[in-house]
């Protein structure tokens, strides 16, 4: 029981560092680069992905013994498309402005590699609870990533960060760099963050190694 | 006025440094306390000793027979007693190798059977010259030490029309060939005509770099009395004296890529020193037991040109040249561009040793190697039209097949690329490694 709990926790946590979808697996790059011109965009895109991912992971896991291996991909697509349509319709109805911004990238969640990746690599082989934890972890990490990239780009590109009605005021003397809102800006931010995460992981593992040697 | 030939692919202008020793006449170096004569001092099979320890020998007496078709005989440079036949450190092979050790008795007594074969070329047949070259142990003295008798008998299907005698001596510092041409112009031309006669070639061209005007003058004078000899004066540029470069510059012909040789385009090339040695053998009967060696560099007190007995220790010659000035930094067997740095000067003069170069401590510095900046200077400098930066980059990563596809095997190891590289990359070193690897793999496949 204890063990299972620990592994549930691990399944949740691992999405943030070891299997961080954006920075270490580099999956789900289209929405990552395309919609992260602001923090808010990143947030809503992330929420949509969390919902779809949890839904699909749970159902794939539930049905994993029933789905024949040969046709699992089409089955996955159906299991994924269902929540995507739900998200799309809800967004259209309740937040049309955001839907217009995210545009094609909402329906495209159907073929988002994060979702496929988690379904194929995890949910298809693991029990329901673990799969749900995995989905939540990956999804939340993804959301955080998008918000981070979006926040950085929004701040550098416009000089402010707007979240709903709360707006961080413009910093005086700072002239926003328009390039950060363009695709190159997205790539530069992504690359820099990836490099930082790699450095951090390398440092941490080095420290662990030297500690274990001392011990 | 003679027109100076400038034609060359790539190449580099190197500081000549000839002034150190070009004015010193050739002197006999003397008889050292011990001579070391390696069985392998030429290309091909090692010689086979025909004497035993304790044997008394005289100057010019044969002490080792050729060990095969591509091989050379070896003779005693002076009279004395055979002390031992044992492995010694070979400076070119860089490993221990069988050698005959001779202890001179100081009498310098010539062997009885040593006598002139002919006094002019009319009295001697081509086959006789070839036989003599073989019996006298003559090899190319330019450095490669390829047996001359083999060179004089190219395959039947090759039609040879021109013989080039290479007196360009493009390596900086070295002046041995220069002095030989200046002091022994007649003998050089006699030997040249002998080479031509032995190989049945009618047209002979003397090739000299334009930085030796006195030698050019001497050769021109000596030449005026013969027909069929021409003089080609070439601009001083390294590696002017590479045989492929020479054939291209003088005749406008390009030797095919390896295994192509000059005879594939109807040309034979020999070195001035070789012609001189052959002349000596015909005119006096003395086989190849001594050669002219330049001992030079900023690190010796009195840069000189010596006639040294084969097997003379370098330490003896350096002592004769006034010894070191201060602490030596580097001692090089051969010239600075292609010579080999030695870790010890207790090694002997070989048939292919054209010079001993001593650099001072200040000159012998190792510069840090920087990443390639892709300046392309090595490409512009390569006389073979190669791209040294890519060959070496692949070789450095162990990608020998890639290196081969960039024509690594065409490299003549002249060192122009390493010389010119502003990042001081050891390009030719990597290329040599690639060549060695490719050669051994080709052998294994066979």
């Amino acid at each position: 029981m204890n063990k299972n709990k620990a592994s549930l926790g691990y399944d949740f946590i691992k999405g943030f560092i070891q299997e961080n979808p954006t920075f270490s697996l580099a999956v789900g790059m289209c929405p990552t680069l395309a919609v992260t011109t602001s923090l808010v965009n990143g947030f809503w895109m992330g929420v949509a992905v969390i919902f779809v991912l949890t839904f699909s992971n749970v159902f794939v896991s539930l049905l994993r013994k029933v789905i024949p291996d040969e046709i699992r991909i089409p089955v996955f697509i159906i299991l994924i498309a269902t929540p995507v349509v739900i998200v799309e319709l809800v967004m259209k109805a309740y937040m049309p402005a955001m839907y217009n911004i995210l545009g094609i990238f909402v329906p495209l969640i159907v073929v988002n590699c994060i979702i496929f990746h988690r379904a194929e690599a995890f949910a298809y082989r693991n029990p329901v609870l673990n799969s749900a934890m995995d989905a939540l972890g990956s999804g939340m990490a993804f959301t955080l990533n998008l918000m981070l990239i979006g926040g950085i780009r929004e701040f550098l590109g416009t000089g402010q960060i707007a979240f709903g009605s709360a707006v961080f005021p413009k910093v005086p003397l700072f002239e926003p760099a328009a390039v950060m809102l363009t695709p190159p800006g997205g790539f530069i931010t992504l690359g820099a963050l990836m490099a930082l995460l790699n450095i951090a992981v390398a440092r941490a593992s080095k420290r662990k190694k030297s500690e274990s040697q001392v011990g | 006025m003679i027109t100076v030939i400038k034609k060359m692919i790539g190449g580099v202008p190197v500081p000549g440094k000839k002034e150190l020793s070009e004015k010193s006449p050739i002197e006999f170096a003397g008889i050292p306390g011990e001579l070391v004569l390696f069985m392998s001092q030429h290309i091909g099979a090692p010689s086979v000793a025909s004497v035993k320890p304790k044997d008394q020998v005289k100057r010019g007496q044969i002490i080792a027979e050729p060990g095969g078709f591509v091989s050379a005989a070896l003779h005693a440079p002076t009279s004395g007693v055979i002390k031992a036949i044992e492995p010694r450190y070979h400076p070119v092979l860089a490993r221990m190798s069988e050698a005959i050790v001779l202890e001179p008795d100081g009498k310098h007594e010539p062997a009885e059977n040593m006598s002139p074969t002919a006094s002019d070329l009319d009295g001697i047949l081509p086959e006789q010259i070839r036989k003599l070259a073989r019996e006298a142990g003559i090899v190319g003295l330019g450095g490669a030490a390829f047996p001359t008798s083999v060179k004089l008998a190219p395959p039947e299907d090759k039609h040879i029309d021109t013989y080039l005698l290479n007196g360009s001596e493009c390596e900086p510092y070295l002046t041995a060939d220069h002095r030989v041409m200046l002091e022994q112009a007649d003998k050089v031309l006699f030997g040249f005509r002998a080479l031509m006669k032995a190989s049945g070639v009618k047209r002979g061209i003397m090739c000299i770099e334009d930085n030796k005007p006195d030698a050019i003058e001497a050769i021109k004078q000596a030449m005026s009395s013969y027909d069929g000899l021409e003089l080609a004066v070439l601009s001083a540029r390294y590696p002017r004296g590479g045989e492929k470069q020479l054939v291209h510059a003088v005749l406008g012909r390009e030797v095919p890529p390896p295994p192509g040789l000059p005879y594939d385009v109807g040309v034979l090339v020999s070195n001035v020193g070789t012609a001189y040695a052959l002349a000596e053998a015909i005119l006096t009967g003395l086989p190849l037991v001594e050669r002219v060696v330049t001992v030079t560099g900023e690190g010796v007190a009195k840069p000189s040109n010596f006639k040294a007995l084969l097997g003379t220790p370098l330490s003896y010659l350096i002592e004769r040249a006034g010894g070191f000035t201060g602490t030596p930094g580097k001692v090089i067997l051969g010239g600075p561009m292609m010579g080999r740095a030695l870790k010890s000067i207790d090694v002997p003069v070989l048939k292919g040793t054209s010079g001993i170069l001593v650099l001072t401590k200040e000159q012998a510095v190792e510069e840090p190697i920087l990443p390639c900046v892709k300046c392309g200077k090595c490409i512009d400098a390569c006389p073979m039209g190669l791209q040294p930066l890519w060959i070496s980059a692949h070789a450095e990563r162990g990608l020998m097949e890639e290196a081969e596809s960039f024509r690594a095997m065409d490299c003549i190891e002249c060192g122009c690329c390493s010389y010119i590289c502003p990042a001081k990359r050891p390009l030719v070193q990597w290329i040599k490694m690639a060549k060695a690897d490719i050669t051994s793999r080709r052998k294994a496949q066979r």
């Binding site: - | 291209h248 095919p256 580097k330 010890s344 990443p371 490409i379 039209g385 502003p422």
Partner: protein, 328 residues
């Protein structure tokens, strides 16, 4: 004593050329243009130059310290990058622009890829492109009038030239650089002086500037006048805008230009063509930056296909021909 003899592989003689020396030559060659820029556009431009160089050198040192690589600022390559970037900036830009630009050039465009020798685009140009995208208004409006140091109200002469084919300047004005423009691009005489110095010193290959400026001049002559062929101002085409500094100092960067002589000629011609197309039919008034950046990216391709003629290749060609003749 003897075991202290140095044993290294041949050759035992090396040319006196060093990377550092070559780079120093480039710095020297850029000085006339920097001085001319300071005279033409005032003290402000000197400030921009100094800020840019300082930032480039500092970025290199800090980055190399941070990643624990040997600090190589004494090879002058960072100085060149800073200097080159500054010379292509409008004179009235705020000082933080060159500072950020140089830091970007050194860290993002050069060091991240492994430092000198491994960058695939010219760092100064990459930074310039970045600055144009980031702060387009500063990069296209902060011009000054030469000698009067007044802010410029109209566009630079190149804009007018592209539209009408008329330079509106005398030849002397163009040679001396008496026109609004980037700090170091206007004084053609100073650039020519530096460029010739580099060619004479065998630092750069004349083929790149020749191919570049030749193509641009020819193209401008043919297409430069709207509505008429063969009536464009060839000289104005190369004297206005950044073609000169680009051809002599940007496109000739060793690392990002082809390694063979023929390849370099192609690079020059290619850059000239792209510049022409951008100027005459593209959306930007000036295309030098993008033209050279594009050719930087094509350089590996050129190096792959344009190889020198090797010694003895005639025999191979003959053999191939013979073999081909037999099969046919």
């Amino acid at each position: 004593m003897e075991d202290r003899l140095l044993v290294t592989p041949a050759p035992h003689m090396k040319s006196t050329k060093t990377v550092q020396g070559l780079m120093l030559d480039v710095v020297i060659a850029l000085l006339p243009a920097a001085i001319a820029g300071t005279i033409l556009f005032g003290f402000r431009s000197l400030l921009v130059i100094l800020a840019s160089v300082a930032s480039a050198v500092a970025s290199e040192a800090i980055y190399q310290k941070a990643v624990k690589r040997p600090v190589s600022i004494n090879d002058f390559s960072a100085v060149i990058t800073g200097l080159l970037l500054a010379l292509t900036l409008p004179p009235d830009v705020p000082v933080w622009i060159p500072v950020i630009g140089s830091a970007f050039a050194i860290v993002i465009a050069k060091q991240v890829f492994g430092g000198l020798g491994y960058n695939f685009v010219n760092p100064a140009l990459a930074a310039r492109a970045f600055l144009i995208a980031a702060w387009p208004l500063h990069m296209t409006r902060d011009w000054l009038n030469p000698m009067t140091y007044e802010a410029l109200s109209s566009a630079t002469p190149l804009v007018g030239f592209n539209a009408t084919g008329q330079a509106g300047l005398t030849l002397t004005q163009m040679l001396l650089g008496q026109r609004p423009g980037s700090i170091g691009e206007t004084c053609i005489l100073a650039l020519l002086l530096g460029g010739l110095y580099l060619i004479v010193r065998d630092v750069i290959d004349y083929r790149i500037p020749l191919g570049y400026l030749g193509t641009l001049a020819l193209g401008t002559w043919i297409f430069g006048k709207p509505g008429a062929l063969f009536q464009g101002g060839a000289l104005s085409g190369v004297f206005l805008g950044g073609a000169f500094i680009g051809a002599f100092f940007m496109a000739t960067d060793y690392v990002t230009s082809p390694v063979t002589q023929r390849g370099r000629l192609y690079m020059g011609i290619g850059a000239g063509l792209i510049t022409l197309v951008i100027r005459l039919w593209g959306g930007y008034p000036e295309g030098v930056t993008y033209a050279i950046l594009f050719m930087n990216l094509v350089t590996p391709l050129i190096d792959n296909y344009v190889i020198p003629r090797y010694y003895g290749s005639g025999h191979d060609a003959k053999a191939r021909k013979a073999a081909g003749g037999e099969t046919r």
